[in-house]
């Protein structure tokens, strides 16, 4: 239990926000701390990135080794999209020099949550140099007019 003497409301607030940040960091790490592969589903999880601009959300996904005509992007809920692509050939742990796990992978697969409301039906997709780029138009539900 903390025995630190609190001097002011600002110190209490600082401490509260510090704790909140620590908790958020732990929570974030707990989400990240899992393998980037799934032997049961024979999938590997690709790296991805999200950028929010004033009118769009741009999701990029690194899909090395994938066949362009097998790339699929589909909304699975109002704020989540699922991305998958078949790999050019099956990849196994052996290919990475790993012998203590067994498994083969034939797909890259991930789900990504979109942080702001978007029109899932207005999705533009392009694929270049193994990078998938998904453009989603933002929904501005609460616009405040300035009088």
């Amino acid at each position: 239990m903390s025995t630190r003497k609190r001097h002011s409301i600002f110190e209490i607030m600082d401490e509260y926000f510090e704790n909140l940040e620590e908790w958020a960091e732990r929570f974030r790490e707990s989400l990240i701390e899992r393998p980037s592969w799934n032997c049961r589903a024979c999938t590997m999880e690709p790296l991805r990135d999200i950028m929010v601009t004033h009118d769009k959300v741009i999701v990029t996904v690194d899909l090395p080794y994938s066949e362009e005509n097998t790339v699929q992007v589909k909304p699975v809920s109002k704020d989540t999209i699922e991305i998958s692509a078949k790999m050019k050939r099956k990849v196994s742990f052996d290919d990475f020099g790993i012998t203590h796990y067994k498994g083969e992978f034939q797909k890259l697969h991930c789900q990504t949550r979109i942080p702001v409301p978007v029109h899932m039906d207005r999705m533009e997709v392009r694929f270049k140099k193994g990078i998938l780029e998904i453009h989603l138009t933002r929904k501005h539900e609460h616009e405040i007019s300035i009088e």
Binding site: M44, D62, P64, Y65, V91
Partner: protein, 249 residues
């Protein structure tokens, strides 16, 4: 804190070599380039490794034997320091200072950090541009003469920033080579480009054809270390490199 780090020598390190640094950073440019140098130049041996309680409790197993994640390889003309794990943000200073102090004792003639400079829409770039920053006007002149653009103004964050500053203090010629790359994705093309520039600056030639051939495989293999590196880049506020500085001259 630097005293908590030991560089353990396994073999006699050469004197007067060029010392290269390949550490996990944006696009893993330095690590991919370093790894390719090791596989292409067959005469590079492990000459030393880092031992420190400041590092995460982690070893790298190769053929069932333990290795430090930070090792130095060398031949008669180069020393190459490489890390196989993302460096925690809070150990970058002591790790870099220890490596540079060690290199100075070996009378290295120049230290060169291999890294990347992230750009948006990287996938649309056909030709990647190289930039450089140096520890002294003389070293800067050397790269300018080789046709490399100088990174004139801005912020630099990470091991290469610490290296340039510390080498400037010690009076050791040092250079950071940077090539346009992805921020969050392993970028073997950028690594190939930086090796071309390395040959241009100091004449260390490495064939990059296999690196380009194996590009997709490297991107697939590099996902995990890239993810760990991203976490550390966030902690060290790497995006500050995008900031526009307010200079006080």
């Amino acid at each position: 804190m630097d005293g908590d780090i030991k560089i353990v020598e396994r073999k006699k390190a050469p004197e007067g070599a060029v010392m290269l640094f390949g550490f996990p950073d944006v696009g893993l440019v330095g690590v991919i380039a370093a790894s390719h140098i090791i596989s292409e130049l067959k005469n590079l041996d492990e000459v030393a490794y880092m031992d420190s309680k400041l590092l995460p409790p982690l070893i790298v197993l190769h053929e069932g034997l333990p290795h430090s994640p930070i090792r130095i390889f060398g031949n008669h003309e180069i020393l190459l320091a490489v890390s196989e794990t993302a460096l925690p943000e809070d150990v970058i200073y002591p790790v870099m200072h220890a490596l540079i102090d060690w290199g100075k004792k070996k009378n290295v003639k120049m230290m060169i950090s291999l890294s990347g400079i992230p750009v948006q829409d990287r996938q649309d770039l056909e030709e990647l541009k190289a930039f450089a920053a140096a520890s002294s006007p003389e070293t800067l002149k050397l790269v300018q003469e080789r046709g490399i653009e100088i990174l004139k103004e801005g912020y630099m964050v990470g091991p290469q920033a610490v290296m340039l500053q510390y080498c400037a203090t010690l009076g050791v010629p040092a250079l950071t080579l940077l090539v346009q790359c992805f921020f969050n994705y392993p970028d073997p093309e950028a690594a190939a480009k930086i090796l071309e520039q390395l040959a241009n600056v100091v004449g260390i030639k490495v064939d990059v054809s296999k690196l380009l051939e194996k590009g997709e495989e490297i991107r697939l293999k590099g996902r995990d270390i890239m993810k760990r590196t991203q976490q550390e880049l966030t902690k060290m506020k790497k995006t500050q490199e995008y900031d526009i500085p307010l200079y006080v001259s």
